[in-house]
């Protein structure tokens, strides 16, 4: 428990922050719109290879952000599985014996997979895309795990690690390929742009799904510990 003075201080701090922030937002809202970025985006959308502007920004105009963001995900996944030191990531406690639930799942899982596929495909011209599809995949996995369906592919082994970086690696290779072709890093060749984006998205979906799932499943349950440096 914090002391009352500290609590009041915190409250004041938060209030002050809110007030200042609100004032700033209000003031900024009074300004004339300064940007013509949406218009620029519209102008160049045709050249981006996809019709949906958000996807165009994510995978073409600002693809470097997305590349690094996947890297952030991979890092989190890595840190997650580095903590898991058991051979299997399954949690026997969670195995269900409810037949009705199993039957339900038998229908639900393929349906969700289908939905993920649709989201991926829709990303090109409608809302949707790799992240949403990946999240859907992961949600399917979570469901399977919560009900105890086996997730053998999630053993911390080489296969899991390949799966984690598959999308990222393809993204990176495409970036490199365009650089080798003499252009800048990540610049897609005009004629393949749609196909490239779609294939990147597909693998990304798989990887993102696996990463999110691995993060969820990689609950550290073990006793291995290392002595502190110098205290051997």
């Amino acid at each position: 428990m914090r002391s009352p003075a500290a609590r009041i201080g915190m409250l004041l701090l938060a209030l002050m922050l809110t007030a200042l922030l609100g004032r700033s937002v209000w003031q900024l809202s009074m300004l004339e719109p300064a940007s013509d970025l949406p218009r620029q985006l519209q102008d160049k959308l045709a050249a981006s290879g996809v019709e949906h502007p958000v996807t165009a920004v994510l995978l073409n105009f600002r693809s470097y952000d997305t590349l690094l963001e996947i890297a952030v995900l991979v890092i989190a996944a890595m840190a997650g599985i580095s903590m898991a030191r058991t051979r299997s990531l399954e949690d026997p406690e969670l195995r269900t014996s409810d037949t009705l639930l199993r039957a339900l799942l038998r229908w639900l899982v393929p349906l969700m997979l289908l939905l993920a596929g649709y989201l991926l495909w829709a990303g090109a011209d409608r809302p949707g895309g790799a992240f949403q599809a990946g999240a859907m995949l992961a949600a399917t996995g979570v469901l399977m795990r919560l009900t105890g369906l086996p997730l053998d592919f999630l053993r911390p082994g080489i296969l899991l690690r390949i799966g984690l970086v598959l999308g990222f690696a393809l993204f990176l290779l495409v970036g490199l390929a365009s650089a080798i072709a003499g252009d800048v890093f990540l610049a897609y060749p005009r004629e393949f742009v749609k196909g490239l984006i779609l294939s990147i998205e597909t693998l990304l979906t798989l990887s993102i799904g696996m990463i999110l799932l691995a993060l969820f499943v990689a609950a550290p349950v073990n006793d291995a510990s290392e002595p502190e440096e110098g205290e051997k």
Binding site: P33, S35, Y64, A79, S82, G230
Partner: protein
């Protein structure tokens, strides 16, 4: 030429991270040697290019800012890229022989290491405020992962504390970015800098500036937001501590400095600048004092980082509302401080790791008598200490000299006192270590002899920190190279 180099620079760390994730520690290590060599070639190549032809913008994915992301490559950036290569390679080589290869979780060291490197490169070159945010997060998460890797409870606690602080800092920064985007409708720092100077409502940027600076100060561990740093840097494995102290905290400071110099000085107020300076000054004094009181060797070095980071924040008062020449002096001084502290602190942590390995304990008193068994590492520690104390002939001295000159010329004499006092205090904690190691005790007779290669890595970095001191002019001359403004 520049396209190839840039592609190599961006691709190598990410590719190395990917491939080494699929390998074990030993194969990853072998591959990493190759990666370090590549990075060295590429960064030297870029440095050479900029030195002879001046800086340039690199438009990623072929889309110009503000729609696309542009990287800025100028003299300062190539210097930092080269610095990163040197320091990170030094730490990497050290780590390659320092970490126990047979632990199952060590295989994740190399991927994290290379992702960290990629994040650093991104931040040095970043010209897009949001891209900088992603770069920062890349650095933060890989750094947290490295601290926690295979760690015990204490390491986890430190990593958690670090994670929470760093995330809050990033989000504060991102909030600032959101306000900037709301005001100027662009994320490109160069655009913002241009608009701030013509817009009549420029002063409305102040809250955004404050938020960014506070967030970044938290990530840089400026007093009083430094609480997370000593545990994290003190408990991590020595090569990791070296990376964190030498480079990671610099990344967030670098962004703060870029934002400040390009847009901040136009909208800030004197009290903001002075407040940041005062906090830096308190950090110098308080951090040094705490370093003096620590019983553990690595905690001493970690608190010393808190103090040394304080010096960096003198940039703000010394560049606000002063003549251009004074501001230039201050910027040069801070640049030298970043470079020399990076080299010296990395050397110091690596040497501290060797010393700990040799005496088998992290305590300062345990060092008694080590001076005739491990003079090489002790010597590296000493040389690095020279730079931290700001004594000649070292980069730390050169930096201090420039800062003193800038304070003198701007009439802000109070910083002179801080600089002088801080130097003496840091001498106190550095000499405390020397003193402990010179003490002769009869019973302490056998020490473990670490691998020679571990000692060489520390030594080379320490020598480099001295080298900065005698080649300050050359180092700074690259930064003065012309930069073509692309509009």
């Amino acid at each position: 030429m520049s396209n190839w180099l840039m592609a190599g620079l961006l691709f190598t760390p990410l590719a190395l991270a990917t491939v080494s994730l699929l390998l074990g520690f030993r194969q990853g290590r072998a591959l990493s040697w190759l990666g370090m060599l590549l990075q060295l070639l590429v960064s030297v190549g870029l440095w050479w290019l900029v030195r002879h032809e001046g800086g340039f913008y690199y438009t990623l994915a072929g889309w110009d800012a503000p729609l696309g992301i542009e990287l800025r490559v100028d003299g300062l950036v190539v210097t930092f890229l080269l610095l990163t290569t040197l320091v990170a390679s030094g730490c990497g080589i050290h780590a390659g022989f320092y970490l126990e290869p047979d632990r199952p979780w060590q295989r994740y060291f190399w991927p994290l290491y290379w992702f960290l490197w990629a994040g650093l490169n991104t931040v040095w070159m970043g010209g897009d405020l949001f891209n900088l945010y992603v770069g920062l997060e890349l650095i933060t998460l890989s750094a947290v992962g490295l601290v926690a890797l295979g760690g015990q409870a204490e390491a986890l606690r430190a990593a958690l504390r670090y994670l929470l602080a760093a995330l809050l800092g990033s989000l504060a920064y991102l909030l600032g970015v959101a306000l900037v985007y709301g005001q100027f409708g662009t994320l490109s720092l160069a655009d913002v800098a241009g608009q701030v100077r013509v817009s009549e409502h420029a002063l409305l940027m102040r809250p955004a500036l404050v938020l960014m600076l506070v967030g970044l100060a938290l990530k840089t561990a400026l007093f009083p937001l430094h609480g997370w740093l000593p545990p994290a840097h003190g408990i991590a494995k020595s090569p990791v501590s070296a990376l964190l102290s030498a480079l990671v905290v610099k990344a967030s400071f670098y962004i703060a400095a870029r934002v400040w110099l390009e847009a901040g000085v136009a909208v800030a107020s004197q009290w903001m600048a002075q407040l940041l300076g005062v906090l830096g000054a308190v950090a110098i004094i308080w951090g040094s004092w705490l370093a003096l009181c620590q019983p553990r060797l690595k905690q001493v070095v970690a608190y010393s980082s808190v103090a040394q980071i304080g010096y960096l924040f003198l940039l703000f008062p010394l560049t606000f509302g002063v003549e251009a020449s004074v501001s230039l002096h201050a910027q040069q001084g801070i640049t030298l401080q970043v470079i020399s502290h990076a080299l010296a602190k990395a050397a110091m942590f690596l040497a501290a790791g060797n010393l700990i390995l040799a005496v088998g304990s992290n305590r300062v008193e345990a060092l008694a008598g080590v001076s005739h068994f491990l003079p090489f590492s002790l010597f590296s520690f000493g040389l690095a200490g020279v730079s931290l104390m700001g004594l000649p002939p070292s980069g730390g001295f050169a930096a201090k000299w420039m800062l003193l000159q800038a304070s003198m010329a701007s009439g802000q004499w109070w910083w002179i006192m801080v600089l002088a006092g801080g130097g003496l205090l840091s001498a106190a904690y550095v000499f405390r270590i020397y003193k402990a190691s010179f003490l002769e005790r009869d019973e302490q007779d056998h020490f473990y002899h670490p691998d020679r290669r571990l000692e060489v890595a520390a030594m080379l970095l320490a020598l480099a920190s001295l080298g900065v001191g005698v080649s300050g002019s050359q180092v700074l001359s690259v930064m003065a190279m012309p930069f073509e403004e692309v509009q």
